[in-house]
Symmetry: C2
Subunit: 390 residues, 2 copies
């Protein structure tokens, strides 16, 4: 397998848009191509994440339309769907096609308009990422899944729920602080632990998760150009290398023994660390899937940054802040940067690429040379890990 | 890139089922694994095509649930969507992951319950495979697209519409004759040219396409085990080799100059022929995308079997029958075998694998040593080609 690098990256401002998913993808993609130094005609394929395009806009087969909008001619264009992990599936596949020698230069990305329906309908619709036979059909939605995760975490590790809620609030506050430094973030608003816990400002969504424990649905798109080593060294002053990729899966919740230890993530991270030849303590910066505050705590443990049961405490003690031991979600994460479902994974990669190039301004993690993304889809059913190095 | 072979294949009977897409996929997959000689624990990833799972059954992230149902543990499971070409996207990706050396043994397949909604609603829903900004939003559906293709074909090549309709009817009759020899086909019914043209038995759908010019929506699943050359030679007496793969895309119809020459197919076939080192005249048997009878005629031309403008005449003269010069759709094709949208491409590959192993009984193409599949998705937006050899 050959070396593969990220050259250009592009991302729209996350939030609400009146444009279509195809149009916003083209904006992100054109930025990525321009920055990469490759000519548009050199791009040999498009790998695209998208989740709700059919429900939001009546648009299936999204990849072909995106390729045409970007002006890529008749190159292969493929849509990937693995709920929230969709864009990272696209990214990993793009990596393998280049690493294998099949292609030299490709475009990977994701696009989503997740605000069209409004949050209540989008939440019910997106529950289709759960098992339809036994779970979503009974009324379970994702806030419910992650609410249960909180209770299990509290019970299993003996962290009183009130304490856990403070730890979770620290995650929200940190990610909002980071998002304030990211001009492309969706929710740029200073909050405090009190804001998160205030039942007026932050109403209960799914016990014990309150509004500020939950990321927003966002519209947005992200794209990056991947190239083989030779092309990367020729074209770009600061290639960011893909060091390892991993992917795991799991079935319905009833097949999973423990919501606090995500087996699909263990599998994904194991693969990525092994390929990269790195350990958790080698990771300088991480963008991970904080769809709910508890999700960030659980992810920091499962990725190996902190022992199981201690991720909440680490968050509260500032270990995951920029300048802390393991900076997590300097972009603001899903919580503040926003969560355009099928674009999120590549948006994480955009942040890591910019961090490893030292281009993140006031949210820059000093001296970051290795970075990791973690993207979780469905009811813990699909998890992807990618490790990058400068 | 390493050699890759198809080992086991599996396919449900196409038609209507009360089971879920996940359940029928498991049936096909378990058959494929059993036939392959590999142990289930040796399978390293699942690549799955599915299109309407969310609309039909409220099921997204389908691949993870399918992997669990088959008992694959936490292996990566990825869903591909490119309208009707979805399963072939999964197959091509599976091929590249094995050819690259990343995996040795994987499962590729597709599953769909396309009859749940009934044909009128499914037709309107599936129009989302067209451009939602300018085409499906104006009321265009796929019968309309292929109806226009007929008119353009007739006008461009000077084939009177009445003559073209007879040629198209010959395609339907041939595919129904073939399907009668396939126990897994959906529509097993002898028809004649008169049946197809009779406005009572075959009402007008989208001028000039009548009912018997159109394939049915079907429920069904198909799966195959792919393995690298070493494993294939060790495990299976009759490996069928992947000789070449190709994929092309195109944007909305308004970006396409000529419906009778599918540019995405030209691209896909060019890639596949080049990789295989074969020409159209080297192909012994072909399963191609006869969603409508005109689609088969146009495909036989675009794949290079007949000169442009002569595919209808060739069909009428029996050239595409079993025993003709270029046997096309010996399985019965989409027209008779049926069209479970997201499973169709792998079902085509199942037929070709069985043909190249000489296992097709009365519909066997004598001496077939090379075979090709062609799968078309959306408004000619995604086309895949795969060439196999024994």
């Amino acid at each position: 397998m050959r070396e593969v690098a990220v050259l250009g990256v592009g991302m729209t401002k996350f939030g609400k848009t009146e444009k279509t998913s195809v149009e916003i993808f083209a904006e992100a993609a054109v930025d990525a191509v321009r920055e990469s130094g490759v000519r548009r005609g050199d791009i040999q394929a498009l790998f695209l994440g998208n989740v709700l395009g059919d429900f939001e806009e009546g648009q299936m087969n999204m990849a072909a339309f995106c390729a045409a909008e970007v002006g890529l001619g008749s190159v292969p264009a493929t849509r990937f769907e693995g709920a929230c992990a969709s864009a990272t599936l696209a990214l990993i596949s793009a990596y393998v096609w280049v690493a294998s020698g099949r292609y030299d230069v490709v475009l990977a990305g994701g696009t989503e308009r997740a605000t069209v329906m409004g949050t209540p309908l989008a939440t019910r619709t997106f529950a289709m990422g759960q098992d339809s036979r036994y779970e979503s059909s009974l009324g379970l939605t994702f806030p419910g899944v992650f609410g249960m995760m909180c209770h299990q975490y509290s019970h299993k590790y003996g962290v009183p729920l009130a304490k856990l809620k403070e730890q979770m609030a620290a995650v929200a506050v940190k990610n909002h602080d980071n998002g304030l430094m990211n001009p492309k973030a969706h929710l740029r608003r200073k909050i405090t632990v009190e804001t998160v816990l205030d039942p007026e400002k932050s109403p209960m969504v799914a016990d014990p998760l309150q509004l500020y424990d939950c990321c927003p649905f966002s519209d947005g798109a992200a794209a990056l150009v991947l190239a083989c080593g030779d092309a990367a060294r020729r074209l770009h002053g600061k290639p960011v290398w893909v060091a390892g990729v991993g992917q795991g899966s799991a079935g319905a919740l009833y097949r999973q023994k423990d919501l606090t230890i995500v087996t699909a993530r263990e599998e994904a991270a194991r693969q990525a660390y092994r390929q990269a030849g790195l350990r958790p303590e080698d990771i300088d910066v991480c963008e991970l899937h904080d769809c709910f505050t508890i999700a960030e705590i659980v992810a920091t443990e499962c990725l190996g940054f902190f022992p199981y049961g201690t991720g909440g405490d680490a968050a509260e003690r500032g270990r995951t802040r920029i300048g802390g031991g393991v900076p997590v979600n300097p972009s603001g994460g899903l919580k503040s940067k926003g969560h355009p479902i099928g674009a999120t994974g590549v948006a994480q990669a955009v942040e890591i690429a910019q961090q490893l190039r030292g281009e993140c301004g006031e949210r820059q993690v000093d001296g970051a040379r290795t970075g990791m993304i973690d993207t979780l889809g469905g009811d813990l059913g699909t998890v992807c890990s990618v490790i990058f190095r400068s």
